[in-house]
């Protein structure tokens, strides 16, 4: 096949492919750095829990206004933040750890969301909310995703250093009078915002995929935080581009194709990355000589 036809033509010829590609770019720029910070803070599963927590809010938005972009996004944002705050409150007011309270609240949210969509909508609506349709991203959705990515970049530029310090040495941040709790809450807001953006493209079940898989894979290639964020965004965009092409040429569903490509990159990184991979760990290396 002609390389132009294989690699570029779908994006030149079809508007929906162009919008899907730029949505992937926006998600990569927003989710890449946020995913790296989630991994560094050992909150990977919290990201997953929050992605499910978005569902009841989006479902209530769907119940009120149908498939309205603004109402569903706002509902998802409020529900995600509510679960984050409630989980934090339970963890601070009781002996239960935060991961357990997150798991409890996200399961309640997921069940509630599926119940609401199932009772008021059709199976098609439920599939749309759960798995998303990146090829159906219209101008309004694209503007929302791009705006969220822009806001994420600007907020990270302002509070990024504090977030990184809090990842590695929260005691130091407290000692110098840094606003640890405020930074943590701002970070949770960023996570929920990006999950709402991902939800429109990939659905609530896979929205976290472009956030966590590239960030986890990047850890096997580079070590500095800024290069981790850049590598994570690059892997996410590469997975989006390759997944869209795979979906176009092989007639596969686009969301799972994108996440599976990102998963493939993760597995290759675990096996062959230069930093801490199986290859680096078990390959016999030459001893240093004088």
């Amino acid at each position: 096949m002609d390389p132009y036809a294989a690699l570029l033509q779908p994006f030149i010829e079809f508007g929906f492919m162009r919008r899907a590609l730029v949505a992937c770019l926006a998600l990569s720029l927003g989710c890449g750095p946020v995913g790296v910070l989630l991994v560094l803070r050992r909150m990977s599963l919290v990201g997953d829990a929050l992605s499910h927590a978005v569902l009841p809010g989006a479902a209530i938005g769907f119940m009120i206004a149908g498939l309205s972009l603004v109402v569903m996004s706002l509902g998802g944002f409020i529900a995600g933040l509510a679960v984050a705050v409630l989980s934090g409150l339970v963890a601070r007011a009781t002996p239960q750890r935060e991961d357990a309270s997150f798991a409890a609240f996200y399961l309640i949210s997921l069940a509630l969301g599926v119940l609401i969509v199932s009772t008021r909508g059709s199976n098609v609506d439920l599939m749309h909310v759960l798995f998303g349709t990146i090829l159906a991203v219209d101008d309004a959705s694209l503007l929302l995703v791009v705006s969220i990515a822009t806001l994420t970049l600007v907020v990270l530029a302002v509070i990024g250093r504090g977030l990184i310090v809090e990842c590695f040495d929260p005691g130091f941040l407290r000692a110098v009078g840094g606003p640890g709790a405020a930074l943590h809450f701002a970070f949770l807001m960023l996570v929920v915002m990006n999950l709402v953006a991902g939800f429109h493209a990939l659905g609530t079940l896979m929205a976290v995929g472009l956030m966590m898989l590239p960030a986890a894979a990047a850890r096997f290639w580079v070590s500095q935080v800024t290069t981790l964020a850049a590598t994570s965004s690059t892997i996410a965009f590469g997975a989006g581009y390759a997944g869209l092409l795979l979906s176009y040429h092989a007639n596969l569903p686009s969301g799972p194709a994108i996440i599976l490509v990102a998963g493939g990159v993760y597995i290759v990184s675990v096996v062959a990355g230069p930093r801490g991979s199986l290859w680096a760990r078990f390959l016999p290396r030459r001893h240093l000589e004088a």
């Binding site: 508007g15 162009r18 919008r19 590609l21 730029v22 770019l25 926006a26 720029l29 101008d139 694209l142 503007l143 791009v146 990515a149 822009t150 970049l153 600007v154 990270l156 530029a157 302002v158 990024g160 250093r161």
Partner: protein, 53 residues
């Protein structure tokens, strides 16, 4: 004489050794990076939505 930047002038030394980006590493530099990336993203979005000629 210029005042040293950072703890004991560490940032100055790092910049001399080339370990800090030419833009620096402060909030203004980070905002410039973020703004540049966001501008590219908006141009791509305008292309995708058919707003560019």
């Amino acid at each position: 004489m210029r005042r040293p930047i950072g703890v004991n002038g560490f940032a100055d030394e790092a910049r001399l050794e080339g370990t800090v980006s030419p833009l620096g590493s402060g909030v203004v530099a980070r905002l410039l990076w973020a703004g540049g990336l966001a501008a590219l993203l908006w141009i791509a979005a305008a292309w995708a939505m058919g707003w560019l000629p």
